[in-house]
Every structure is written in structure tokens, then in C-alpha cells.
């Protein structure tokens, strides 16, 4: 199947396997968790034992169950933020790259201003003003990412916009939306795909950071980043309570990046080869 061609490269195959494993763990974990995630069942911060392979956290809850429950929020929040960032950023980038004059200057200087805020400060201000809710978190992370997406898409679009087939469409008097959708989007897709892994990784880190700072998801939610945050003081009593969620966040970001790179390479090649 041509769409999975990237998986034929070694790094693509390894990345895909890893990604499927982490996603499966996050999505199916809740169904196989041995204990409820938010009920104390033992002495707080005890190490691994027979019934509790990862021990207990600072309230005496089962770490394994919390890890199995805690992946969903990371995936869903970071995923939603990334998708939203792409919708916003790609729209801005495509129109700016196609139009070039006023729209370009207006949109891209706007993006530059947005980029000049340190992302975490921006998110802190946003949650302080609008309160800590899941939707604020998603929108905030998307707003941080969108200008970066817009810049990449704009550069790729500007390169395509001077090509003959785009000019032919302009000479036909096609509407801007038709030109963007038919002529530009399919040809900038490889450049966009090359970047998805990186952006998604960054979303995960941002969501995790905000959750860690206590400005995103609130206890008693089980969430990998929140787990690291709330169990900080117990690191020496039961290291696994921190190491397990941290390792999973790391694995997820590595897997997403590897797959993103492999896809980008295979798309780049397909535009040269006959499809």
C-alpha cells in the first residue's frame, strides 16, 4: 500500500511499532487496569510488590492503574491542540503565501508578534485570565503553535505559487479558495507532513508542562504529567511513580518524531518518482 510506504524503512517501522504500542497502552489501558485510578488502596509511596508492580503514589493509589488511565489525556489534548494549530496555521500560511502582498504582510507580522511571547508565559497569562479548563489549554497550546505552522506553510506555498500551473489557474480566474485547495495544498502537503511530528511533540511537552505546573488538568485526574508533578516529593521513596509516566512521555515523543520524519522522507521521494 502506497500510503504506508514510509513503514518499509527501518526507522519508519520501529517508530510506527513504538507509536502503536504507546497509543494502544493509552487507549486500551483503562480497560485492563487492575484497580480504580483514584482510590487509595495501600500505604502511600510503597515500592513494587506482588499485587502492585509499580507501587503506590503519594495518596496510596495504584501507580500502574494511574499510568494506564493517564495516557488518554496527553494524547487527546496534545492531538487536539496540534490539529487546531494546523487548521489555523495552514489556513493563514496558504493564503499569505498565495496572496503575497497586503495579506502576507498583515498575517505574517501578526505571526511574528505571536511568536515573540515565550510560550509558557503566554499560557500562564491565558489560564490566569480565562481559568484552568481543558478547552483553554487546548486553544492556548494551538495558539502557541499556529504561527510556527503558518511560517512553514507560507514558505512552501510561496515556492509553489509562482509555478506555471498556479499561474494558469490565476489566468482562468479561479477563486482563491479553489487555487489553494486544488493547486497549492496537494503540493505543500509534503512540507507540512515533514513538520507534524515535531509540532505534535512540542504540543505534548507544552501540555505536560502546563499540567505539571498545575494550570491544566486538576487532581484527581490521572495524567502522566500531573503524576510527575504531584509525586515530586516521593521520588526517593518510590522512583517508579515518576519514572514510569516520564518514560512513556519520552517514548511517545520519540515515536511520533520518528514516524513524522519517515513519512516526510517518503512523501518527498514520491513527488519525484512517478506516483
Amino acid at each position: 500500500m502506497s500510503r504506508l510506504r514510509f513503514a518499509r524503512t527501518p526507522s519508519g517501522a520501529v517508530g510506527l511499532a513504538l507509536l502503536i504500542a504507546v497509543i494502544a497502552l493509552a487507549l486500551l489501558g483503562p480497560f485492563v487496569a487492575p484497580n480504580p485510578p483514584d482510590e487509595p488502596i495501600g500505604v502511600p509511596l510503597t515500592g513494587p510488590s506482588a499485587g502492585l508492580p509499580l507501587g503506590t503514589d503519594f495518596l496510596g493509589r495504584d501507580v500502574l492503574s494511574r499510568v494506564l488511565f493517564g495516557g488518554r489525556s496527553v494524547l487527546v489534548l496534545a492531538g487536539a491542540a496540534t490539529v487546531l494549530a494546523y487548521l489555523l496555521g495552514a489556513a493563514v500560511g496558504l493564503f499569505a503565501g498565495h496572496n503575497r502582498r497586503f495579506t502576507d504582510a498583515f498575517l505574517m507580522r501578526g505571526a511574528d508578534i505571536a511568536l515573540s511571547f515565550p510560550p509558557l508565559i503566554f499560557l500562564l497569562v491565558l489560564t490566569t485570565g480565562l481559568g484552568t479548563s481543558v478547552s483553554v489549554l487546548v486553544v492556548g497550546v494551538a495558539l502557541v503553535q499556529a504561527p510556527l505552522v503558518a511560517r512553514i506553510v507560507r514558505t512552501a506555498t510561496a515556492e509553489q505559487a509562482v509555478r506555471g500551473f498556479v499561474e494558469a489557474a490565476v489566468a482562468r480566474g479561479e477563486r482563491t479558495t479553489a487555487i489553494v485547495r486544488r493547486e497549492l495544498l496537494p503540493n505543500v502537503a509534503p512540507a507540512i507532513m515533514a513538520d507534524v511530528g515535531l509540532r505534535f511533540t512540542y504540543s505534548i511537552i507544552l501540555v505536560a508542562s502546563v499540567n505539571f505546573l498545575g494550570l491544566g488538568l486538576q487532581p484527581p485526574s490521572s495524567d502522566w504529567a500531573l503524576m510527575i508533578s504531584e509525586n515530586r516529593s516521593g521520588l526517593d521513596l518510590n522512583p517508579l511513580v515518576i519514572l514510569a509516566p516520564a518514560a512513556l512521555i519520552a517514548l511517545l515523543t520519540i515515536a511520533v518524531n520518528t514516524v513524522g520524519d519517515a513519512i516526510a522522507r517518503s512523501l518527498g521521494r514520491s513527488s519525484v518518482e512517478a506516483p
Binding site: 494558469a168 490565476v170 489566468a171 480566474g173 506516483p275
Partner: protein, 598 residues
């Protein structure tokens, strides 16, 4: 005296064993110029590089010997070969702008070659002495310049000077004038002739253009699909080609003094790996025999010392150049199809002042007529074409279609106006959306500009593919699967899908091989005859213009310097610029100018 170059039975293969070039033998005497002629895919550049004992990545020389002035260059010892390059054979590349290191001053580029060969026994003279040989100043100011501060012609003469620094007996030139305009090209060719006369330099001049070698080379070798198909004295070969492919090439070269109908060969050149078992030209050949399919014909010598790779070469007819079909002369109409009135256009740049691209341009184009805009790069001809198509807003003047002034940009024009004017671009590798199927690409104008339904558009696409002589199955392909000539046919079909009254053709054949160019021009003739479509033809090539346009405007720096009926202007140019252009344009010698008989 030993030969400057002896190439014996060269074979160059891809890593998978597919031959790019096979059985190529060439010898060049000291002071001789050999023209190595071929179209894309013929393997001429591969041979050129092999003469330096070099081949690209994934390619290797697997057979034959390369001997230059007694030294073998095909040995595995890369270090030894490198010491010989530049000293006994040097190379002048096609694109001087990318061949010269942009960060090095001219003086440093020249000294590099000498530093490389400091240990060599050759006594190297002053590195700057060769600049005089190519008519460039050798003062400090010039040596301190960077490549981007020179014109294209000067850059190419610098690369020639660099190739001469170690005084090699042989220079290989790979399409050295392809990127240059005709006047500059003529100067570089003069320079080469003088170098041969002064220094007794032997040269291998690689080109796709028979007309260029006609005036330069003593002998030509014509390559097709990786083999030499014909070799002999230049005048001899051009006057009386023995191989059907050479004959086809000669007939497809346009000539501005004696315009003739260009005759195209059917089919396309097979690439490496697609070549048939027998003669590679057999599928396209009018005089094929059963044995042509079975085996490759040997290179046979004629009584006059010509080499031909054809079983039936004795049957090859003489070159016949049919006159251009005279189109019915058009009376000056009261209402021409298109009138351009006092048009001016400029290019704005973010920094610095706007550059004037064209000024005071006025001309009229009759229904079904063909007017050409001729000029070198920078003459403003493409900008005028883009103004007519509504892609560039003029700063003054107006464009009138059928008595109605048009809006500056396509967006402001009515659908009917946009439908009636269609533009075809220069580069067929860039003008088709790589992610859309051919049928979809052609159907779009019919849907958008004529409001056809999906089913109607599908029938229209089928009819158009047939009209531009592409197989129906091409509709299902992507542009990446087609050759340059096929893509240009698709671009023409896309323009025709709108049912236009005027085709704006912006250098539509300049990216194509001569034989493919002939086929595209033939198609354009046919469209004019059968559909009555008018053509605004933009070109830098006077020969091409002579074969298609009734009237022409010669542009220099955005101004019209001469205009009139094509034959009148070309036979008796009044403006000095037109005279210069004509004098510089390379062409095949007239049959009666050649004093050699076959």
C-alpha cells in the same frame, strides 16, 4: 603524430547493469574540433564526462579505453586520473553560473587550477595569461571580481580560461553556450575558433544543436540512444545525412533565412533500459527492415569515409525541405482580434526603483493570425505576454479584445474574455500540477470556463488528447510519467479545452529538443489551420519564428525596434539590433553553400 583523443569501444553502465552508452569510439586529431551531437537521453554528456575518466554516482565505466595524448584515463587509480585532469584534458561545463564558486574571486578560481597541479612537470605560465586568450582583461580589478559581477558570457569565458590554464591539448565543452543568448553565443564561438587557430587546441564540443556545430566543428558524431549512429565531416553530414535519424534532425532544424515546414519524427527517444534489442531507432524509422529488429547494425564505413550505423543507409533519401505552407494573406481587418495600445509595464521590487520591462508597445493581431515577439532575455517579451493573459498589470496603455478594452488582471475580466485568451508557458516541467491526473488537468478549463458537465468534459478530454496526438491512456497518468514534449502537448490541450480564440505561447519550445520542438510547432500549425486560432508567439529563436509567424516585432530593452512581415524583416533587417541578432543566429549552411558532395 599521436591523436589528441582516442576513445575505444566505451561502455558506461548504471549500477544495475543497464548500459547508458555502448560501443562508442571516437578519435580526435590535435587541433581538430569534433562536434558530439545528440538530444536528451542520447548519452552525450556521459561520453563527455568519460573523456575525463569520470562518471557520476551510481554509474561506472565498464568497458573500453580512454586515451588522451598517450595517457590512459580509464584506470581505477582515481588519484592518478585526477592529476591528469586539467593538465592533459579539461572540461567546460554547461552552466557557468553554477560552475564557478560564487565565494571565490576570479583570480582565485584561476589559481586553484594551478595549485592543484603544482607538482606536475608542465611549466605553468602566469595564471592570468589565459584571460587574454579569451579576450578578457587580466588587470587586478578584474581578478578581484566575484562571478556574480560578470555577465553570463564573461562567466563562460572565465570557465574556458580556467580550463586552459595548464595548457591541456584537449578541452571538452559540454553545451557551453546553451544558457547564453545568440549574440553572446556567437562571441564565445568566435573565441573558440580563434583558440583552435592560435594554440592548435583539440576540442570535443557537446551539443544538442546541429546549427551551432555547423559553423565550428570539423567533424560531427551524432549520438542516438547511447550509440554513435553517424560520423563524418560536418558539411558532408549536414548536406547529405546517411542515417535516417540524422536526416530527421536536419529536417527539424528551423532556419530563419530559408524557412521551411518543420518535419517531425514520430515517437520518442528510448531511455536507458527501454532500448530495443535491435536498432534503437527502428520503431521510428521510415526505412526499417526485418533485420533491424534482430540486431544492432554495425558502424559501416562509406566510400567517402563516413561511418553510419544503419542497414539501409544507401536508401536514405535526400533532405527535402518543404516551404512553409503559405497561409492565406490576411487583409488588414477593420477590427483585429487583439489590439495592444501603447502598453507599458514594469517590475516592482521591494528595494530599489521599479524596472521598466516594456514601453510604448502597440500592435494588432488578426483573427487566426500569428504575431511573434522576438528578443533576448530581458527584452520584455514575456512581460507583454503576461499582460495579455492578465497575469501582470500594465502601468499604462490598454489591451483591446474585439473592440472591448480588457481589465488589467484576469480576475477583473469576464469569464468569456478569460476563455478566449489562453496562455501556454515555457517550462512544461512546471506548468502542470504534479499531483493531478492529466485528464483532470485538461478538464478543468472546460469545466470552469465553458461550464461543461463532468460527462461532457470527459468526452472533451478524450477528443483533445487525440487532437494533440497523445494516447487516450495518458489521461490517467500524472505529469511525472510523461516526457517534456508530451507534457507540452498536455499544456496545449489544457489551453484548447477553453475553446480559445487566442493562444499566447511563451517560449513554448525552448525547453524541448529540436526534434520535439519540430513536432510541437507542427501541431501548432495544424491547430491554426483547423481551428482558426490566433497565436501570439514569444521566442528568442529567429528560425522558429520564421517557420510560424506572419508578422513579428523585435524587442530590445522593452522597446520595439523593428516590426513588419516576417520574411521582410528577416531578409532585409533595417534596425542594427535586428541585424546583430540575425548575424549571430546559428544556422545550417545552405545546401548550395556546401562545396562537398557525398
Amino acid at each position: 603524430m599521436e591523436a589528441a583523443l582516442a576513445l575505444e569501444d566505451l561502455r558506461v553502465e548504471l549500477r544495475n547493469g543497464v548500459a547508458i552508452v555502448e560501443g562508442v569510439s571516437i578519435s580526435v586529431a590535435p587541433g581538430e574540433i569534433l562536434g558530439l551531437v545528440g538530444e536528451s537521453g542520447s548519452g552525450k554528456t556521459t561520453v563527455a564526462l568519460a573523456l575525463l575518466g569520470y562518471c557520476g554516482r551510481g554509474v561506472s565505466i565498464t568497458g573500453g579505453t580512454v586515451t588522451v595524448a598517450g595517457h590512459r584515463l580509464d584506470t581505477a587509480d582515481e588519484r592518478a586520473t585526477r592529476r591528469l585532469r586539467g593538465r592533459i584534458v579539461s572540461y567546460v561545463p554547461q552552466d557557468p553560473a553554477s560552475a564557478l564558486n560564487p565565494a571565490l574571486r576570479i583570480g582565485a578560481s584561476l589559481r586553484d587550477m594551478i595549485d592543484e597541479h603544482r607538482d606536475a612537470t608542465t611549466v605553468v605560465a602566469d595564471p592570468t595569461a589565459t584571460l587574454g586568450a579569451v579576450d578578457l582583461p587580466s588587470n587586478d580589478a578584474f581578478l578581484r571580481r566575484f562571478p556574480h559581477q560578470l555577465s553570463g558570457g564573461q562567466q563562460q569565458r572565465v570557465t574556458i580560461a580556467v580550463s586552459l590554464t595548464c595548457e591541456p591539448p584537449l578541452v571538452v565543452l559540454d553545451e557551453p553556450t546553451t544558457g547564453l543568448d545568440v549574440v553572446t553565443q556567437a562571441r564565445v564561438l568566435d573565441e573558440l575558433r580563434r583558440l583552435r587557430a592560435d594554440r592548435g587546441l583539440a576540442m570535443v564540443y557537446v551539443t544538442h544543436d546541429l546549427a551551432v556545430v555547423a559553423s565550428l566543428a570539423d567533424r560531427v558524431a551524432v549520438m542516438y540512444a547511447g550509440r554513435i549512429v553517424e560520423e563524418g565531416a560536418t558539411a558532408d553530414v549536414l548536406k547529405r545525412p546517411f542515417h535516417p535519424y540524422t536526416r530527421g534532425l536536419v529536417e527539424s532544424i528551423p532556419d530563419h533565412l530559408h524557412p521551411h515546414a518543420l518535419q517531425s519524427m514520430p515517437g520518442t527517444t528510448p531511455g536507458p533500459g527501454e532500448r530495443p534489442q535491435g536498432c534503437a531507432f527502428e520503431p521510428r524509422c521510415p526505412q526499417r527492415r526485418p533485420e533491424c529488429v534482430e540486431r544492432v547494425p554495425p558502424l559501416e564505413a562509406s566510400a567517402t569515409g563516413r561511418l553510419v550505423r544503419c542497414f539501409a543507409w544507401r536508401e536514405t533519401p535526400l533532405v527535402v525541405l518543404e516551404p512553409v505552407p503559405t497561409s492565406t494573406s490576411r487583409e488588414a481587418e477593420a477590427l483585429p482580434l487583439l489590439r495592444v495600445e501603447d502598453l507599458a509595464a514594469e517590475h516592482r521590487s521591494p528595494r530599489g526603483p521599479a524596472v521598466v520591462a516594456a514601453r510604448g508597445i502597440s500592435f494588432a493581431l488578426a483573427r487566426g493570425g500569428c504575431t511573434a515577439l522576438v528578443g533576448e532575455s530581458g527584452s520584455g517579451k514575456t512581460t507583454i505576454a503576461r499582460c495579455v493573459a492578465g497575469l501582470h498589470a500594465p502601468t499604462a496603455g490598454q489591451i483591446v479584445l474585439d473592440g472591448t478594452p480588457l481589465a488589467a488582471l484576469a480576475r477583473g475580466r469576464t469569464r468569456e474574455e478569460r476563455r478566449r485568451i489562453q496562455i501556454i508557458f515555457q517550462n512544461p516541467y512546471d506548468s502542470l500540477n504534479p499531483k493531478r491526473r492529466i485528464a483532470d488537468e485538461i478538464a478543468r478549463p472546460a469545466r470552469v470556463l465553458r461550464g461543461l458537465s463532468v460527462a461532457e468534459a470527459r468526452d472533451e478530454v478524450a477528443a483533445l488528447l487525440e487532437r494533440v496526438r497523445l494516447p487516450a491512456r495518458a489521461g490517467n497518468r500524472f505529469p511525472g510519467e510523461l516526457s517534456g514534449g508530451e507534457r507540452q502537448r498536455v499544456a496545449i490541450a489544457r489551453a484548447l479545452a477553453a475553446g480559445p480564440d487566442l493562444l499566447v505561447c511563451d517560449e513554448i519550445t525552448s525547453a524541448l529538443d529540436v526534434s520535439v520542438q519540430a513536432a510541437v510547432l507542427e501541431l501548432l500549425h495544424e491547430l491554426r489551420r483547423e481551428l482558426g486560432v490566433a497565436v501570439l508567439f514569444i521566442s528568442h529563436d529567429l528560425g522558429v519564428v520564421a517557420s510560424i509567424a506572419e508578422t513579428l516585432l523585435v524587442l530590445e530593452h522593452g522597446l520595439v525596434c523593428e516590426e513588419g512581415a516576417t520574411p521582410t524583416v528577416l531578409e532585409a533587417p533595417a534596425h542594427p539590433y535586428t541585424q546583430r541578432l540575425l548575424a549571430a543566429a546559428p544556422r545550417l549552411p545552405d545546401p548550395d553553400e556546401l562545396g562537398v558532395s557525398a
